[in-house]
């Protein structure tokens, strides 16, 4: 029940922020966002009441793998940083390899590393052929490729 309650409060605050920020725009530019903020506010209040009256089925978050999700998001952030400095292919190769090795269930040994290294090489090789060879599209570039 707690997560729904928190969500309804966040939604209400969010609608208030939109309403408040819309006030700084010209009347014509503000009319649509203000109307939306009022609708969002009303929906947030109804949602809150539904939660309080136990009309909402509570989401079951028992056994949620928080550590795994946080690790994934950290890896994603590092990938974006590497993308900016190293370039698309190098960063993507490193990300693919780290993610597949990190999420492997088996014990890391030479064979496992080699399989994932080959898999990353083939995948990035196909992307290189497709994007830079065939389609000739621009991709994020850094000091490497």
């Amino acid at each position: 029940m707690r997560i729904e309650l928190i969500a309804s409060i966040i939604f209400f605050i969010f609608s208030g922020v939109i309403f408040f920020v819309s006030g700084s725009y010209s009347p014509q530019a503000a009319v649509f966002p203000k109307a939306l903020s009022v609708i969002l506010g009303i929906l947030a209040v109804i949602y809150f009441l539904q939660v309080m009256l136990k009309k909402v089925v509570p989401q079951n978050l028992a056994g949620y793998p928080l550590a795994r999700i946080v690790a994934f998001l950290v890896a994603l952030t590092l990938y974006f940083v590497c993308l900016y400095y190293l370039g698309f292919y190098t960063a993507s190769f490193a990300y693919y390899l780290v993610l597949t090795l990190g999420l492997s269930r088996d014990k890391l040994n030479k064979k496992e590393i080699l399989i994932n290294f080959c898999s990353a090489s083939v995948f990035i090789g196909i992307l290189y052929f497709l994007f830079s060879g065939l389609l000739k599209v621009q991709i994020p570039s850094g000091f490497l490729i």
Partner: protein
């Protein structure tokens, strides 16, 4: 008849080498991505939108259309073989498909699935070809007030019909409408909600589409990364089984007729989607059957009705999209994104100024039905290899493709941040039951709603007519308001009746 003549006139242009090559590629990619549990057809189409930038509009739309048609068919493979629907549209398929598989009739179930998909898909295409141009002509009569109500109808229908909760659906839709206001106002040029430089260009639709449908799914896959059902049986087709199955399916006239009709009707209603079509068709076929006891225990009629219906809705779901910019399903919403980035705006002009592109697109959708049937049956034999692919490879691959897709739209790093930012917000939304469909529809319809609202207000100020009179009178306005109210009332009624049960 004029529509049919136009269709026949442009049909040969869909048969160019490049279009056919892209059609085959789209079919294979669609079937593979559809067969992978956890990847939805919507995400498959969203990931491929950026690939169409380097193609001509007709070739690009051929790619998206073939993926759109085939990903749903691919989803039936995992539903039948491992009891996990590849897409929500395949839920009804597993009721009888999986029991058939357990009885050692996997090949028969898969063959019947693709045969009924072909029949249902073609029925839906016929409806689309005949109904779309006349409806587009009706759209000529729409002024700003009607277009404003069209946008409202789109959001309320999607919110009411596609999600479990009306309040959550409406919240998602309204949030999507607000997302569309970020950036410089297209009519007034005034900056709004630009909290950081990243948002200065507004929310790019394709980046948002990829984020909304790819990242939440990858995070959900991460949650259950070590839970994967394995399929070990290698399919060895019996000689002559396909011919036998074709004759059997053609004899099942009742499931085919019910499936096709329900699919077509559901397809036209915005937001209902293939899941609703499949479930209603399954239920109705069962109800009209003399021996209902076999359903749920491996009755091929259940597979035929469900698959026929969810493919029959694919074509008609494009009717409101091509005429009024209202997508019939979340996947159709992504297709709309594909149309818009090629400078094609739905409405009557689409059929006059870009008739070649639209009719080639329609022709490619018809061809995609045949390629889906051919490659589907061929690939089903090797599907165990696809379905057993470890999830970690899928996650890594999809994240990298999402980065490429969001960057390549404008060669802008900010779009990657927007894509993943919106994706993360949507993931949190999903945790409280707000689905992506209404959000994306709100995002697409936001500029239509606001632009026409402002135009209508200016007209009222100029003519001295009251807002109430301008927005609330006129046959089309009243019909659209009634549809919107009906979708809300119906959704409330069904949630109240289901809670009583």
């Amino acid at each position: 008849m004029e529509t049919l003549q136009q269709f026949i006139h442009y049909f040969p242009q869909a048969l160019t080498v490049s279009n056919l090559a892209v059609l085959v590629l789209g079919t294979i990619v669609g079937l593979v991505l559809g067969a992978l549990p956890g990847l939805s057809p919507t995400m498959a189409v969203a990931l491929l939108v950026p690939f169409t930038f380097v193609m001509t509009p007709s070739t690009g739309l051929t790619l998206l259309g073939s993926v759109y048609v085939c990903a749903m068919a691919g989803g039936a493979i995992s539903a039948i073989l491992i009891n996990v629907p590849g897409a929500p549209a395949n839920i009804a398929t597993l009721f009888d498909g999986y029991p058939m598989s357990k009885q050692g009739k996997s090949q028969t179930a898969l063959n019947m699935c693709f045969i009924s998909s072909l029949i249902g898909g073609l029925a839906g295409m016929v409806a689309m070809i005949f109904f779309t141009p006349p409806l587009a002509k009706i759209a000529l009569k729409f002024g700003p007030s009607e277009m404003f109500w069209v946008a409202v109808v789109g959001v309320t229908c999607m919110a009411g019909l596609s999600t479990g909760s009306l309040i959550k659906g409406l919240f998602g839709g309204t949030f999507g409408l607000w997302l569309a206001t970020i950036g410089y106002s297209p009519m007034l040029g005034e900056p709004r909600f630009i909290f950081s430089d990243t948002l200065a260009g507004g929310i790019n639709m394709v980046a948002a589409l990829i984020g909304l449908f790819a990242l939440p799914q990858m995070l959900t896959l991460m949650e259950g990364i070590y839970e994967q059902k394995k399929f070990t049986e290698k399919l060895k087709p019996e000689k002559g089984i396909l011919k036998k199955n074709i004759i059997e399916v053609l004899k099942m006239r009742k499931p085919l007729t019910i499936g096709s009709l329900i699919g077509i009707i559901i397809g036209i209603i915005p937001g209902a989607g293939g899941q609703v079509a499949g479930l209603i068709a399954y239920d109705q076929t069962k109800r009209f059957s003399k021996d209902q006891s076999k359903y749920g225990h491996g009755d091929p009629r259940g597979v035929v009705a469900a698959e026929c219906a969810n493919k029959a809705m694919a074509g008609p779901s494009l009717i409101p999209l091509l005429t009024l910019s209202i997508p019939g399903s979340p996947t159709a919403a992504v297709l709309l994104g594909g149309l818009l980035i090629h400078g094609l705006f739905p409405g009557p002009e689409l059929f006059t100024e870009h008739a070649d592109i639209v009719y080639i697109f329609m022709a490619s959708l018809v061809l995609a039905q045949f390629s889906m049937f051919f490659f589907g049956i061929l690939m089903a034999r090797y599907s165990y290899g696809i379905m057993n692919l470890p999830k970690r490879y899928i996650i890594a691959g999809v994240v990298i493709l999402s980065v490429f897709g969001s960057y390549s739209i404008q060669n802008n790093f900010n779009d990657i941040i927007i894509c993943f930012g919106i994706g993360f917000v949507q993931y949190l939304f999903q945790k409280v039951g707000i689905k992506g469909g209404p959000v994306v529809l709100g995002l697409i319809l936001g500029s239509i709603a606001e632009g026409n609202l402002l135009k209508a207000m200016l007209i009222c100020q100029g003519t001295g007519e009251s807002y109430w009179n301008y927005f609330g009178t006129g046959t089309i306005n009243i019909i659209l308001i009634l549809i919107s109210v009906f979708s809300i009332v119906y959704s409330l009624y069904s949630s109240v009746s289901s809670s009583r049960k």
